[in-house]
C-alpha cells in the first residue's frame, strides 16, 4: 500500500476529502461519489494526480484502481478545465444535422485551430480542448439523449437544441461580454 504523501495537497482539501470518505465509508460505489464531489470543488473542475493519490491512500485502494475509474468515466477530468464549457454532441443524429461544422466553428471562434482530434481520422474520439487563457473548454460527447433537438450543444450545462453556427457564436459572445 502506498504511503499517503500528506502535505502534497492543501489542508482544506484534505479535510474535505476526509469528510467525504467518512460519510461514504463501506458503501458500494463510494469512490465515485468522493471523486465527483472532489472534482466539483476543484477550481478548474479536474482531479490532479496528487489528489487521486491522496484519495487512494485514504480509501486504502490501489492507485491503479483509482486511476482506472477516473479514466473510465467521461465525467472525470484529469486536465484543468476552462471557466466555461462548450460540449458538442457528435452522435449520429447530431452528425447528420451538421454537428461537425458546429465543432469546427467553435474551434475556430475560440482560436483552438483544427489540428488534432477529429481531423486525424479519429472520428469517434473524445475531444477535449481548452483555450490558453483557461476561459473556454470545447469537448465532444457521444450522445446527450436529445436527438429530437439535433444538433445539440451544451453551454455551461445548459442544453441548446437545433443549434446553428450563428447561435453558437452568439452564446460565446454572450459569455465573453459577461466577463
Amino acid at each position: 500500500m502506498p504511503t499517503p504523501s500528506l502535505g502534497s495537497i492543501p489542508t482544506d482539501e484534505q479535510v474535505f476529502i476526509d469528510k467525504l470518505i467518512a460519510i461514504r465509508r463501506g458503501r458500494p460505489g463510494a469512490l465515485l461519489g468522493v471523486l465527483e464531489a472532489t472534482q466539483e470543488r476543484n477550481r478548474y473542475k479536474y482531479l490532479p494526480l496528487e489528489t487521486l493519490r491522496y484519495v487512494a491512500a485514504k480509501m486504502e485502494m490501489p492507485l491503479a484502481r483509482i486511476y482506472s475509474v477516473a479514466t473510465f468515466y467521461a465525467l472525470f477530468n484529469l486536465q484543468p478545465q476552462g471557466e466555461n464549457t462548450i460540449c458538442i454532441c457528435r452522435g449520429t443524429a447530431c452528425h447528420t444535422r451538421g454537428s461537425r461544422n458546429l465543432l469546427q466553428g467553435a474551434r475556430l471562434e475560440l482560436g483552438l485551430g483544427l489540428d488534432g482530434g477529429e481531423s486525424d481520422g479519429n472520428e469517434a474520439d473524445k475531444l477535449l480542448l481548452t483555450t490558453a487563457d483557461q476561459q473556454f473548454t470545447v469537448r465532444t460527447v457521444a450522445c446527450f439523449g436529445q436527438c429530437a433537438m439535433a444538433p445539440v450543444v451544451e453551454v455551461n450545462h445548459r442544453i441548446c437544441g437545433h443549434a446553428t453556427e450563428r447561435t453558437l457564436q452568439r452564446e460565446i459572445e454572450t459569455i465573453r461580454a459577461g466577463e
Binding site: 502506498p2 483509482i66 486511476y67
Partner: protein, 237 residues
C-alpha cells in the same frame, strides 16, 4: 455445508456438477474442453475474450461459459459450426485490434492467441487492420510490456490483484482506447507497488508481457506455475 449436486448435459453427455459452478468449471471438472483466452484457474472470471461462448438449448443467445452459472437440466453445446464462426470472429477482431506480428514476437510458437487462431483455422484475416501506434514499456529491469501484443484479457490485472495482492495493473479508458496501465499511468519500473514477482508475465497469454533477454520464439510462459500456486494455497475464487 455440502454443495448441492445438479445434473447438466454437455454435448449430450450427462454430468453432475456442483451448484454455483460456471459452465466452464463444470466442463473442466468433467474433462470437457471449452476454448478460452481470458480464463485462468483460480482467478475470477470476467468474460473478456468471448471465445468460450457456448450454446444453451432453449435460448437463441450464446452464453460465455466462464461467467454463466449452471442450472439443473441445462443442456450445453460446446462445439458447432455456429460457435466456430463466432469464435473465429472474436479472434479475428483481437488480431486486427493491435499489431500482432508473430514473426518478430518472443512468444512465437508459445502464444495462446496464435494457438487459438490456428486451432480455429484462421489463416488470413478478412477485416482491415487497425495498426494503432502503441508504446512499449521497457522501464522494468526484468520485464517488458508491449501494448502491441496485448489482447486485454486482464489476466495480469487479476493475477496481480488476487494472487499477488499488489494490484499494480489495471485497465484505463474504454473501448478502443483501453490499455493496461501500471499504477497511475506511470512507467512500470517506477511503480512502487510492483513486487517484480513475474506472475503477470507468466499469466499473459501472448507476448505482451515478457521477460527481458529472450529472442524471437524463446519466451515460454510457465502458466502451470501460476495455477498450481492457487491450488497449493487452497485459494477459493
Amino acid at each position: 455445508m455440502p454443495q448441492k449436486k445438479i445434473s447438466i448435459r454437455i454435448d449430450g453427455e450427462l454430468i453432475s456438477a456442483l451448484e454455483g459452478q460456471t459452465i466452464l468449471q463444470a466442463a473442466k471438472a468433467n474433462g470437457k474442453y471449452i476454448p478460452t483466452l481470458c480464463d485462468l484457474d483460480g482467478l475470477t472470471s470476467v468474460g473478456a475474450c468471448r471465445i468460450c461462448l457456448v450454446e444453451v438449448s432453449g435460448s437463441e443467445r450464446l452464453f460465455p461459459a466462464c461467467t454463466t452459472p449452471i442450472q439443473e437440466g441445462m443442456s450445453v453445446t460446446t462445439n458447432s459450426p455456429k460457435l466456430t464462426r463466432y469464435r473465429r470472429i472474436s479472434v479475428e477482431l483481437l488480431l486486427i485490434e493491435r499489431n500482432h506480428v508473430c514473426a518478430v514476437c518472443v512468444s512465437n510458437g508459445h502464444c495462446e492467441l496464435q494457438t487459438m487462431a490456428s486451432a480455429l483455422g484462421i489463416g488470413t484475416v478478412g477485416l482491415a487492420y487497425n495498426f494503432p501506434k502503441l508504446s512499449i514499456d521497457m522501464s522494468h529491469p526484468r520485464f517488458v510490456l508491449d501494448h502491441n501484443r496485448c489482447i486485454l484479457c486482464t489476466r495480469c490485472v487479476r493475477v496481480c490483484a488476487e494472487l499477488e495482492g499488489a494490484h499494480m495493473w489495471e485497465l484505463t479508458s474504454r473501448g478502443i482506447h483501453a490499455r493496461i496501465v501500471s499504477e497511475m499511468n506511470e512507467q512500470w519500473g517506477k511503480a512502487t507497488s510492483c513486487t517484480s514477482c513475474g506472475k503477470c508475465v507468466h499469466a499473459c497469454p501472448t507476448g505482451a508481457l515478457a521477460e527481458k533477454g529472450w529472442a524471437v520464439e524463446e519466451m515460454v510462459k510457465k502458466i502451470d506455475a501460476v495455477t498450481s500456486l492457487v491450488h497449493r494455497r487452497g485459494a477459493q475464487v
